[in-house]
């Protein structure tokens, strides 16, 4: 157990108020300072405040892109209701459980994993330090287990606790040191190989989307609170105090998107932020924005549905509504970041595309991307800015807002521009913008709006291919399914079955040529997605973007995809 490892997966759990999540954040921050990567998923009970909580963390010498198949260690600050998380914390005979014997026996649901129990008097250790808290002892145990450098650990504490004053810092440093010393005495270690120290970023997908919005030039946001998307709205509301721009908390989801219609019409790059139930409410206005050619970014951080579903868990079941929800025919751009690291650039790009094409762009994130915190290399790639066409071709009576052009894009002067007055209208309208019931005009405008999307060059942003490009097995995924698919593919490739991953970023319009080239030569294609009805698979098959014989591996949330599950599915199918 003492040789250097490439990764270690640790859970810190406890009842409400013990600070398990804070300990997890501290561990991630300490690992980043020690040159390691990491990924943290938060679990909490259904209670609004308090209730059991767990930080699921994997640290590694390489970037971590998916939840681990199993955990090496569970540190239980206490046992109150922690057993409820048992199905989400896979342990086995190689795992250890660190717990305080004072808290009683290990709950059966956890004990049956066969993990070895390492007992430590956690409460007594915390009490030995003035102001010492359980969670900082737990943090020290985890840091010692992973073999993190003490300087990095202390730095992380100072950065996190510093604002609370020197007394709090001293107490936390003391509790952490006591935890480390106590665990070192057990002789157990799962120390990581040394990391490569460099400046990195630590952030969640929701924060990363917020940053992409600012970089893209969003100056107006209107939204209604909804889990798991609210954090983007809150982050932007706080940051815009310093950066500039405005977040309006609307009275409802429909008001939010209609406010966005107004601000975008008035010239501001605009965003609304929601999750599935909110997206459903916005659907009518999405049709209006498409018909009236109003640009905006609509962020949907998907959660388990239908209806209220499971708000705090991930799923990819909003694809259908994102692609087609609206009365009538309303073609649209749907884009999904393929990882947390991809969120800033893809969000920034979504703003550019919305502005360039004068149309709503759906940005499909999901709870797993949004609420997971991770350490990434500093993103260096930024998309080339694109702007709205605002200069009219002609003014006065000759100005035509919806002029038929080869690109489908026509000039959209903002109010205040003389001699270009036009009315944005959800009624079928002529090139002038005036309402019309003419069949020829209606079809011409439908074609115009479709042409905008089809002639636009999405370039390299369409998606990415990972692994051997000529591999006979290809996994096709989007959003948070890409991470586990990549881990699975790497494992399969290493085991002698070369596997590539095609990560689709532009889901609509389907980049058929690019996708076809990325899949060329594949003997077996499997679409991996986290929903119950194979929405991506049906979308691609329906649009004839996948060859016959392509397979689907779709399964719904709430449990996260794990690489082992994908590998097992593929082996099973081969055997059958």
């Amino acid at each position: 157990m003492s040789e250097a490892r490439k990764s270690v997966a640790i859970v810190i759990a406890g009842s409400g108020g013990t600070g398990a999540i804070t300990a997890g954040s501290a561990l991630l921050a300490a690992a980043a300072r020690d040159g390691h990567y990491g990924l943290m998923t938060k679990l909490s009970g259904a209670q609004v405040r308090g209730g059991e909580a767990a930080a699921l963390i994997e640290l590694g010498v390489d970037p971590i892109e998916a939840q681990p198949d199993r955990f090496d260690c569970l540190i239980a600050l206490d046992w109150q209701d922690v057993h409820r998380f048992a199905p989400e914390i896979p342990l086995d005979g190689d795992s250890i459980i660190v717990c305080d014997p004072k808290n009683g026996a290990v709950p059966e649901a956890i004990a049956r994993s066969g993990a070895r129990v390492v007992e430590l008097p956690i409460a007594q250790i915390a009490a030995s330090v003035e102001g010492g808290r359980l969670n900082m002892v737990g943090f020290g145990i985890a840091a010692e287990l992973a073999g993190l450098e003490p300087e990095a650990v202390d730095d992380a504490i100072r950065a996190m606790i510093g604002s609370k004053g020197e007394k709090a810092v001293t107490a936390s440093l003391g509790a952490d040191a006591a935890g480390r010393a106590a665990f070192a005495a057990t002789g157990v270690s799962m120390a990581l190989a040394p990391g490569r120290k460099a400046e990195r970023w630590m952030l969640s997908g929701n924060e990363a989307v917020g940053l992409g919005a600012l970089r893209g030039g969003i100056t107006f946001v209107a939204a209604y609170p909804i889990t798991p998307a609210t954090e983007i709205t809150e982050w932007l509301a706080v940051q815009m105090q310093e950066h500039g721009g405005r977040v309006v908390l609307a009275e409802d989801e429909i008001a939010a998107i209609n406010m966005c219609c107004g601000s975008a019409y008035a010239g501001a790059p605009t965003m609304t932020i929601t999750s599935g139930p909110g997206l459903a409410l916005k659907v009518e206005t999405i049709g209006l924005a498409i018909a009236a050619e109003i640009p905006m970014v609509i962020v949907d951080v998907m959660r388990v549905g239908p209806s209220t579903g499971i708000p705090t868990k991930s799923d990819q079941g909003d694809l259908d509504i994102a692609l087609r929800g609206t009365p009538g025919d309303a073609p649209r751009v749907v884009i999904a970041p393929i990882s947390i690291a991809d969120c800033p650039a893809t969000t920034e790009r979504a703003v550019h595309i919305a502005e360039a094409l004068q149309t709503p762009v759906m940005l499909l994130s999901d709870q797993s991307i949004g609420q997971t915190q991770t350490i990434i290399d500093v993103p260096t790639e930024r998309p080339t800015p694109l702007k709205r066409l605002t200069v009219p071709f002609a003014t006065g009576p000759d100005f035509r807002r919806y002029q038929l052009t080869d690109s489908g894009v026509s000039p959209m002067p903002a109010p205040g521009t003389p001699d270009c007055q036009w009315v944005a209208d959800g009624l079928s309208h002529a090139e002038s913008g005036h309402p019309s019931n003419s069949a020829a005009i209606h079809v011409a405008q439908l074609e115009k709006r479709k042409r905008k999307l089809e002639t636009f060059d999405f370039g390299d942003g369409w998606g990415d291919v990972f692994g051997p490009a000529d591999a006979p097995l290809a996994l096709l995924a989007f959003g948070s399914s890409v991470g586990p698919a990549k881990v699975a593919a790497a494992r399969l490739t290493e085991a002698g079955t070369p596997t590539r991953v095609v990560a689709l970023r532009v889901l609509s319009p389907i980049p058929k040529a690019k996708l076809s080239a990325a899949l060329a030569g594949a003997k077996r294609i499997v679409v991996v997605e986290q929903n119950h009805s194979a929405q991506l698979y049906r979308h691609l098959r329906g649009e004839k973007a996948l060859p016959h014989g392509s397979e689907s591996f779709a399964r719904p949330g709430p449990t996260p995809f794990r690489a082992a599950e994908i590998v097992a599915h593929l082996s099973q199918e081969v055997a059958a």
Partner: protein
């Protein structure tokens, strides 16, 4: 924030014609909405803002067709959502004059929630509701202001439901200017619109606008409207009492308040890279703070 003066710096010589578009209204001959359109065009001319600095916003319904009948910029959106659209326009571009128009079904029924919150938010907007106490475009169903015993196919014998008072609701929700006009009193209505536009914050005018087709009896409003009985007050309680004790047929300005308008957007440095610095960790960034607030609490909403 205190009330600010309206930015009507250099009025131009404009006439009603400058605001008349070439689009032919779809309204029935004799519809009260013609009077409201003309009043609005007169008011805009008097206000002196050129058409390209004005945006007329609406939802769906007969009266919501109005934007295309002016030469201003316009937004004809979906049913009931005119006020949020207008809010977005005004907040993004405070320099524009934003007028919202619509009917009783659009504004009080499907859009009722937005009516409450637009009044509460008090963005500097003017909202003109052409109330004919019926859904006209869908051919004669009762609306929230229709009398309880009004017989229709949709509600034989009447809905049995008391109509509500839009003015009382506007006052309760915080509107800063509350008035009632009559569509066929064009000159007084135009003057009322001018005053509403000039008044800071959310200004609400309920206009009695007869529907000649489905409510022909409303043509009698010419006689039953009570003119000149209402005195404006800045006391919300007094205005509410006046509204509630009224026959719902008095025209005039009931209330002119001095609530602060919705706050201005923060003016920042506009540098996203300064914001991105909060994510830096490790390397040379080892002293940068890492807890950005949203990831430490484990909370859910």
């Amino acid at each position: 924030m205190t009330i600010h003066e309206q930015p009507h710096a250099c009025p131009q010589q404009l006439t009603l014609k400058d605001f008349k578009s070439s689009v032919e209204p779809i309204w029935c001959s004799g519809c009260g909405d013609f009077g409201v359109l003309q009043s609005l065009q007169r008011a805009l001319a008097e206000l002196g803002r050129p058409p390209h600095e004005v945006v007329v916003v609406s939802g769906i319904g007969c009266s919501s067709r109005l934007p295309a009948y002016t030469t201003a910029y316009g937004f004809h959106g979906v049913h009931g959502r005119a006020l949020p659209v207008a809010t977005g326009i005004k907040l993004a571009r405070p320099d524009l004059e934003v007028i919202t128009v619509g009917g009783d079904g659009d504004g009080y029924s499907i859009g009722g929630n937005h009516f409450l919150h637009a009044a509460r938010r008090n963005v500097d907007l003017t909202y003109i509701v052409m109330d004919n106490r019926v859904y006209g475009m869908t051919k004669g169903q009762p609306s929230p202001t229709t009398e309880a015993d009004w017989d229709s196919d949709a509600a034989p014998g009447g809905t049995g439901v008391k109509p509500f008072s839009p003015l009382a609701i506007a006052l309760a929700a915080g509107a800063n200017f509350v008035a009632r006009g009559f569509a066929l009193d064009v000159k007084p209505l135009a003057a009322m619109i001018v005053e509403a536009v000039r008044h800071p914050g959310f200004s609400f005018i309920e206009v009695l606008s007869p529907c000649i087709t489905f409510r022909p009896e409303e043509m009698e409003w010419k006689k039953s409207v009570e003119r000149g009985a209402i005195q404006p007050t800045s006391d919300r309680a007094m205005a509410t009492a006046a509204v509630l004790s009224d026959t719902e047929m008095s025209t005039g300005i009931f209330f002119k308040g001095d609530r602060g308008v919705y706050r201005e957007a923060p003016k920042g440095h506009g540098d996203a890279e300064k914001i991105a610095a909060q994510f830096r960790v490790g390397g040379n960034a080892h002293l940068a703070p890492v807890d950005s607030g949203c990831c430490g609490g484990g909370r859910t909403l």
